[in-house]
Amino acid sequence: MKLPALLTADGLRPRVKWGRLLTPLTFLLVTLGIVILPYARTAGASSLLDIPSTLVGVPAGDDLVSTMSFLTFFGTFVAIYAILTLGLNVQWGYTGILNFGVLAFFLVGANVAAIIAKPPASGEFVEYVGGFGDALNIIPALDSSQWFPFLVGLVGAAAACGVLAFFLSIPALRLREDYLAITTIGIAELLRRITIEERWLVNGTRGLPGIPRPLSGWVEPDEYKFVIFGIVVVVLILVFIAVERGIRSPWGRVLRALREDELTTAASGKNVFAFKSQGFVLGAMIMGVGGAMYGYANSSISPDTFTHFFATFIFWAMLMVGGSGNNKGAILGAFVVWGLWNITLQLQGYDLPTAVGSRIFFIRDFVLGALIVIVLLLRPQGLMPEERRVSIWVERHARRLRGPPPSTGRADVPSD
């Protein structure tokens, strides 16, 4: 599956020499941007030049509170997108499956969780199937907390995505890698269309507002953002641990072996299709959980969210920037890309030249698109390269045989 005559194998070497500084610098810059921009705006800066002067004074309590509130909100969504990016990392980073239809699983996860946790449809312009929220809210002492429908919704979303992924893997996974990419774009477009056209299913273009939020009865509405932030972070940590454990297990080693060389893995007696299918399904289930968390955190979902650009591409940007094949990298990527996203949102609040201000979102999209290409060209391993996970004995033996290894981590990506 490669282009033998066209290549001179000079790859496998990170091109950027200041690579060591790149990761902390990026992290620092994004963090600064995401903290300073909203703070300075609430503190009264109206143009970018005012920012330094607002920073020197003593911070007013209100400004800090609103900045904190923004940061909590931001952190919640970073964690949610990190879950989705982890799902993509299982598929692409570890198994080498090209999924250009993250949208499909995001959408299914969010909608399934929503219709499970919502009360039955009522009212004139509200139509959806499901609505088991009241039936599931079975524990009297905790009924205002909505925690049981929430859990069932999470499981249901993961299960629905898993089943969808399994059926998708049948026609496409046995064939060339890129067929799956095309197939997933197709299913994403089909599902997107279905949610819009079939009003009875999930309320069509109106979307699903008022999704019950877990533990919402326990705290004041103003403070709920901290609760949901906590819940999302707990889910993210659980997913992260699960993926790390899975990838470090023998099962995970087979996935990575598959990614590097299918033929050799098959020759070692592994069922290539079964393992790829498992990787695909696991990734899809994680995406389903992420989608469900999106619905719960946002408390409503709208079909406008589920566009190919937002719901598929952004996760690719996160994974490629963060470093495919590294779970921490996936989380960092979610932080950096969503940070850039929010920095542009914040910049819009400042006085910018109109030519830039009116186009700032398109400029951001262009930068994200270009960023993927630049990462592939200059730093294919991303901000955090994949860690070496070969047995230490194998490494030592290899060093004795032919000198130190050329690089740490995976410089180029799988399936050559």
């Binding site: 599956m1 090209l98 890698e177 398109f362 994200l368 290409v373 990506v413």
Partner: protein, 427 residues
């Protein structure tokens, strides 16, 4: 033990084609039941007669293929291909006989898709990767032509014309080109200015593709990246192109020529927009040119050689890099014409590009990757299916919004039944 193994091997060999035979049978049953349904549904005398002829023809062709195949494996393969063709013929005949109007529109949509799919299949065949920026390139090309023609860019509040001059300012450039009087019918909606804009856009897109190859794909190639890396890179480029379009022309729908477009009456009560006739013939001429280029010139021969086996081609004194450069230039020009045709047929809208990937890839894979004639046939099938569905769908309770999903269904079916497509080579 060894004897058991040998027997098992022999049995396996005997039935190796069994799966294909089963699939082929299913495909045939589908074709025949569709035909039977159509005959029952359309009971008019001449129509039924045409159907009977069709039926006999299809059965005869399939039978012949089955008769002359020797092993079970070959038979299974032949059964699938003949069954697919039977399906296509039956569907085509049904569409022509009962939905002539949407069939005609489908042929035009198919022509637009064909222009895109031929370029896509060239890239797919020679570089082996799925070019996910193809749909957006078509749209970008359409916008470049739009800019050349009208000089319009979106400004701070409303459209502006930053250049002092655009093609529309040429004398008579926007006067409608007349449709030949002998044939009757309305004029084309555009003047010769659009044709010049199209040529300019073709040059620009060829240049864009050339530069992309020089600065993105060639470095990746040199590094020996896998085909999936190219796919991801092209996805990034697709997004960048889309954002550029939004940056310069915003997301509003645009047309080359505003207003109502003249129509022409064709035989069999078909009335189509006159521009669509132009689209159809442009596609035919360009497809023929590509065919001549690939199969009658030395460059085409070299391109096919690189597509078949780059190593062998290089040993035979072909410079693959040079061939790849030519390929990008040709694909760029084709993409530009396809984009302008698309905008003439539908409209200019940045979001359209990405969704367009589905029918393009469905056409490419249906026809068989790397086969331009396959891409043409595949594009026609996909285009006609889409438009027929959009015409028929509402009657059976499915919104025409599912139009692009028809391509997806075709794609899934072909991947299940015959992944190498109708004209694809064995891999």
């Amino acid at each position: 033990m060894a004897a058991v193994e040998a027997t098992y091997e022999r049995l396996l060999d005997q039935f190796r084609g069994l799966g294909d035979v089963v699939i082929g049978t299913i495909v045939w049953v589908a074709a025949l039941s569709f035909a039977a349904w159509a005959i029952v549904a359309e009971t008019d005398g001449p129509v039924a007669l045409a159907w009977a002829a069709m039926f006999a023809l299809v059965l005869g062709a399939g039978g012949l293929m089955f008769r002359y195949a020797d092993t079970l494996r070959r038979r299974g393969d032949d059964l699938i291909v003949s069954g697919l063709w039977a399906n296509i013929l039956v569907f085509g005949a049904w569409a022509v006989l009962t939905r002539t109007d949407v069939f005609a529109v489908g042929v035009v949509t198919g022509s637009v898709l064909a222009l895109g799919a031929i370029g896509l299949t060239l890239i797919y065949g020679i570089l082996k990767f799925a070019h996910f920026a193809h749909g957006d390139s078509m749209m970008l090309a359409a916008y470049i032509a739009f800019f050349a023609l009208t000089g319009t860019l979106v400004g701070e509040r409303e459209d502006t014309q930053p250049l002092p001059w655009s093609l529309s300012d040429l004398p008579g450039a926007t006067d409608r080109i007349p449709y030949p009087d002998q044939l009757g019918g309305g004029d084309f909606s555009f003047g010769y200015g659009l044709l010049i804009a199209m040529v300019l856009s073709a040059v620009a897109m060829a240049l864009v593709f050339f530069l992309l190859d020089r600065f993105v794909y060639r470095p990746l190639r040199r590094r020996g990246s896998g085909i999936v890396i190219f796919a991801i890179a092209s996805l990034g480029i697709a997004i960048a192109m889309r954002s550029l379009m939004l940056m310069f022309w915003a997301s509003s729908r645009r047309l080359y020529v505003p207003g109502i477009r003249p129509t022409t009456d064709l035989p069999f009560d078909v009335r189509i927009v006159t521009d669509q006739i132009f689209i159809f013939f442009t596609a035919i001429v360009l497809a023929a040119l590509v065919y001549v280029l690939l199969f009658r010139t030395k460059l085409g021969k070299a391109m096919r050689a690189v597509s078949d086996n780059p190593d062998l081609a290089e040993v035979s004194g072909i410079n693959p890099e040079q061939i790849i450069r030519w390929m990008w230039l040709i694909a760029g020009a084709l993409v530009a014409v396809a984009g302008v045709m698309l905008a003439l047929q539908a409209q200019l809208k940045p979001e359209l590009g990405f969704v367009l990937l589905l029918p393009l890839f469905a056409a490419t894979i249906l026809g068989g990757i790397g086969s331009p004639q396959g891409a043409f046939v595949g594009a026609m099938i996909v285009g006609i299916s889409q438009e027929v569905f959009a015409g028929v769908g509402p009657d059976i309770g499915l919104s025409s919004g599912y139009k692009f999903s028809v391509a997806f269904v075709i794609l899934i079916l072909i991947l299940l039944v015959r992944p190498r497509g109708l004209f694809g080579a064995k891999t």
